[in-house]
């Protein structure tokens, strides 16, 4: 980890922890913050239904992806900027923060003005132009680990954002690529405490993409909390089998509600500030 010396992501001492406060929603500082929503936005009805349901269950941020990077050019690629109207509706109908993925420097201004948190996906972790672009905004940035990135490379990618002035970076472990095929990727659960040793930035986990199977998502989520994560970004859909993408890894609403109850009880035992307390 020599290359982390004299970087801004580096942890100076065990008390050095960055907390991010977005309109009263805390990420880090002992909170456990849940970001939830469908894999990709499909239409305003599903979006609003999903948002209200996850808000009621205790999520504080809504995952609303307008752009959906896909391995094949012939699969659903998302709404694009036309979906911004849906964001406005979500803003009116719920109290959730809005979070969205950004794929191109061209969209930074349009999206940064409408959402609260920007996400750089794992495919773009090494897209340095994009990292510098979001680094010039004042929005919190979720940076997902590339599925073949070491922790050092992950942190140096974050450094691209910090180096141009934006220190509000949230690291997201989402599974790495290994030989195992039963799961979509291998959730590197020890990346959570390892990153906590190396950096002061908050660390969240994506239990949906790492597992790729909804049956494994609750276990992945609880393991993330137990391992010390500051939150989750999780796929929830009112009707997963009708989902345009990634339905097999999305939780339905009742399963998500039950999971949130379990996480709430665990978080008390683990000394976390209750992740729903800010609601009350």
């Amino acid at each position: 980890m020599n290359r982390l010396k004299e970087t801004k992501v580096q942890k100076i001492n065990s008390e050095h922890n960055t907390a991010i406060n977005v309109n009263g929603v805390h990420i880090g500082e002992g909170y456990f913050t849940v970001i939830a929503g469908p894999c990709a936005l499909e239409n305003v009805e599903v979006a609003v239904e999903s948002a209200k349901a996850v808000e009621k269950a205790g999520a504080r941020v809504f995952r609303c992806s307008l752009f959906k990077p896909r391995t094949s050019p012939y699969t659903y690629q998302g709404f694009g900027l036309e979906g911004i109207e849906i964001l406005k509706t979500l803003r009116q109908e719920t109290g959730l923060l809005l979070e969205t993925e950004i794929l191109s420097t061209e969209h930074i201004d349009s999206l940064a003005s409408e959402v609260d948190i920007l996400r750089v996906g794992s495919r773009n972790m090494d897209n340095y132009e994009l990292l510098k672009g979001v680094g010039r905004t004042n929005k919190p940035i979720i940076l997902k680990r590339n599925m073949s990135a070491t922790l050092e490379e992950f942190l140096l990618a974050a450094e691209y954002i910090l180096s141009v002035g934006n220190e509000k970076v949230i690291l997201c472990e989402r599974g790495i690529r290994t030989f195992e095929t039963y799961t979509r990727n291998t959730l590197d659960i020890l990346a959570v405490p390892a990153l906590k040793e190396l950096t002061h930035l908050p660390v969240i986990v994506d239990p949906s993409h790492s597992s790729g199977k909804s049956s494994l998502v609750p276990s992945a989520s609880k393991a993330a909390l137990a391992a010390g994560a500051d939150g989750l970004i999780i796929e929830v859909h009112p009707d997963p089998i009708k989902s345009y993408s990634d339905g097999e890894q999305s939780l339905d609403i009742p399963t998500f509600e039950n999971l949130m109850k379990d996480l709430f009880e665990m978080s008390n035992v683990l000394g976390k500030k209750s992740f729903t307390s800010v609601l009350n």
Copy 2:
């Protein structure tokens, strides 16, 4: 997972779970069972001190490795059969079950008569002669996943044991080999719920070899419990830096005691039968 059809390891339905009861110590059935002790036996004093300490903290089984497979032929290889005298002392001084690694078919009789549980290490997961050998004993067998084995291969290795008549197999996830080097291996935490879907056998986790760093072991242990594991096999040493092998991944006694308290509280929330209840 086609090759699991018509195997004895396969899970028939969601209620199909094998529990193992060794002299009153349960593995499976909702219990969380902790196996602890030094990486390798070094002398009778350290062994007894370690055993009493882990017993007091709530462990039910003592890890006592007489043979220590090592990558280099020039590093400490363990006591060998001469260590059996130490096992007899441990039997007198504590109420713990004894567990040891077996490296060769020649040692099966000698070891099976002295210990309660035999362990086949990850290097020997594909040593089919050894698997069939331990399959002919009536001892519970801990089978550790080879660090490059898929879950299907892991289960087919277990099938070698079941196929010759011994159904008391405990699967142990201990980390897989990936490109990440900050941890010794990558703990495949989702192997726990995945194996629970595929097989009726109990599943435990080795948080020590997977992480390779004592600082990460508590997080790995809690994540294992949260993900649904039936127990842990964990390295504990009264003075890790003086340990003959793997000192950097062994917990000292106070850290182990604190971890056990945390696990105890978590296990209540998670609906586990208390892992120390059998003591009381």
Copy 3:
């Protein structure tokens, strides 16, 4: 490989092979074409010296990277667009084709007008906006495999380029990420014949980034030719230890000259059209 059905990259039958002809330089069609030059352009003197040397040794294309994506934001990032003047000088001083890496859609017009071949690096294999951008030019595109991409994912990334109208795609195997650390990456040599089975596109190999050690580059290069590759992209520097980046994997001129002689002799035995014949 189900997702390749009805794609444009797919091979229809064993005779279906795309050849690319750029101003008389052939890629595919039984030619073995060598692209060589420094990792990144440093100054006009080194550029011209390198270019003349690799041309004399039999290379037909000059690797001239103006932009250099780097893991750390604090290492040399390349010349940027200011280096275009150097390209003009190279054009005057040599008969080589020019090839350069493109990092951002903003630079497509500027670079496409000055060079003969554009390269999308492995970090950007999943940067779909960039793929579609270069797909709208009429330049041949070298697409490097992401170090964690399966062959199917690699081909679907190429499909993004073909899908918008540019069929002149050259696939480049450059090593994948594995647990082995002696080499920088693991050269997946069987990707060459495997891709030849799956697609009609030409396939070249980067022996420099895959091995990361100049001592291994000649073996990697010969293996690529023997495995059926259509060419190489190889790092050559007049004084590797003074190189700004990747010096440890660059060949010096005499080593490159010897390698080219060996490749020439091998290519005759292997039934390749001589890779220097087009020069004579």
Copy 4:
């Protein structure tokens, strides 16, 4: 590679190369030696037919596996010691050396007295009891790399054999486990020149298990020769689709004959001593 210091496998200088001479068949010393035969022995007719065919095509050693380690306990496990009669017949009918896999220390005496070369398979690379056992014979030992072993671990496994007195070890690269699934494993072709830098022992390649597809075996074989290997161990079967195991990766006789011709021509260009010269 610190752990290689003061080992017997370590290369002292660039001239330090061990050559093995088994009854006039050379391995190392600039020869390219081909070991060929079916995956497992099936019956005496197929064995003799295969042996005569591979001998005629230029192979010098016959692969005759009596024991076949299989992932599942319910697939064909080989002839066992009863196949020794077939070995005697092969000895009478051909001039080939005989080579076989050894799975257990119990079989060392029986097999060492009947064959010329013993093989320790990749599953047993870490079976230290077996390594020491074959190290006490005076037979050349082919040691196959475990599919998750680093080069350092591979060499330390070889050291177990050398450390007890047997220096006639032939290292075999047979593919490593990665995320790519088109091939059975990923042939780590650069392991060949890398091992040649690190050790004085000969290095051969298994193109059959690494690729898992007969269509890729010729390319893998040529790449091995081009990368500097001292030979091949390759699966050949008179009727691959009727093979009891691994038929999909076995070459038929005509394909093997053509491959041998290509290798012969290449070996001349590469300055190898002709691999069939010892026959003439």
